[in-house]
Amino acid sequence: MEKRNIYMDYAATTPVKKEVLEAMLPYYHDLFGNASSVHVFGRGVKGALDKARDEVAKLINADSSEIYFTGGGSESDNWAIKGVAFANKDKGNHIITTKIEHHAVLHTCEYLEKHHGFEVTYLNVDEDGRINLEELKNSITDKTILISIMFANNEIGTIQPIKEIAQIAKEKGILFHTDGVQALGNIPIDVKDLGIDLMAMSAHKIYGPKGVGALYIRKGVKLHSIIHGGAQEKRRRAGTENIAGIVGFGKAAELARIHLDEHIEKLTKLRDKLIKGVLEKIPYTRLNGSLKHRLPGNANFCFEFIEGESLLLSLDIVGIAGSSGSACTSGSLDPSHVLMAIGLTHEIAHGSLRLSLGDMNTEEDIDYVLEHLPKIVERLRAMSPLYEK
């Protein structure tokens, strides 16, 4: 097998699909007007926004009017959490979340604790990465105003019992936000059936452009804005609309909806082959996350005695792009907070590898990884002072 370029970091970001880019292009030059304008340059654009909103809504079974476009998943998470927190300050100051949230949620909660007088409970997870519903119930106080629990984890792919969580929140009259960034387009989501109040989404995880996201806000849910200004997005999120980006998000959502079943089937098959192969061929290896409640495209391993960056680097040299921990935190050299939360020791957590699969991956890609990865792990182990054969 010759050298390839295999991308297995779809959980970090995805390429923009051709159809998506094609849908976007007209809005840069020919139809560039401001959606709020009266004249012909602006008018063409309003319909495009509406269509994109419909498509995002359809993907999660929301009403069009419940979709608010934002500048990305992080903004959506920040908006949901700060928006609900500030709007309900007089009702209570307690927020419940988990230890394995994305930093967009974790750091937002920490900020509210440190600077705005909120108190946050960070729920534990079991070794699969799932929360305990009893612990959730027990942590609710009469000051709890928000529960924010991610739909599916970006590192280990674990899917939470969203419907049960929403049910508990509803019984107690507490708003429930879920970070749906990783779940969107990868598993079926029906916000109405699940009973979700707010859900953050991001386009660039579903083959759309970066810098566009959305927040689902169930009709009637009140929260403060975090970007004040013009009357866009029904006055709830100001800023000249990123029309090309929004159109791209809409197209990506449409494609995701149409192809959801085959997407899930294909990725699940590839993922299972990858996991099986790696566990068979490489000793002292651990699969992180749940076998059952797992995103179709996620595989996450720990290889004892070696460190993640040198593993990534070695994989990169043979043309395999993976990640270790989450890409967003690679500025930090601490091991992933998610792996620590599922109970791994530091040394094992340092040797983690996430291979996240997507639409461009093939069976041959998996074969290629299964050929190279064992050799690479073995080479690094041979250099490791921790490894005694």
């Binding site: 600077h115 040198s310 040299i317 340092h350 250099m383």
Partner: protein, 146 residues
């Protein structure tokens, strides 16, 4: 992000391994932080005749270990003690700022192997007492939060 030299030493590390009955062994780093470097010295008449290393760590940790062993082999102990992390980094055509601390690890591993040698043989080496090996070396954390 890494120079070609770093990549070369990462992919083809020199002097990997252990030395049986080494005259000095230095181990620094901390498994919690994701890096451990172990250096083995064979010393004859004050000259470093052989060096081997084993490293658990990032690409830069492996490359700096490899480079450091090359830079001290054949040197006298006094010369080897002069090895600085900057010299190792420079010999590798530089390291990214967040990776400079990995080269500190390499410098300290060499020094702690020499300390071990001095202790075992009960000899005095000038300047050795001033060296502080900091196992819990700081990992870079960016400062500007919020």
């Amino acid at each position: 992000m890494y120079s070609e030299k770093v990549m070369d030493h990462f992919m083809n590390p020199r002097n990997v391994g252990e030395i049986e009955n080494a005259d000095g062994i230095g181990e620094v780093g901390n498994v919690k932080c994701g890096d451990i470097m172990k250096i083995y010295l064979k010393i004859e008449e004050n000259i470093i005749k052989d060096v081997k290393f084993k490293t658990f760590g990032c690409g830069s940790a492996i490359a700096t270990s490899s480079m450091a062993t090359e830079m001290i082999i054949g040197k006298s102990i006094e010369e080897a003690l002069k090895l600085t992390n900057k010299a190792v980094a420079e010999a590798l055509d530089g390291l990214p700022p967040v990776k400079m601390h990995c080269s500190v690890l390499a410098e300290q591993a060499v020094k702690s192997a020499i300390i071990d040698y001095a202790k075992k043989n009960n000899i005095h080496i000038d300047g050795l007492e001033d060296i502080k090996i900091d196992d819990d070396h700081d990992h870079h954390h960016d400062i500007e939060e919020e």
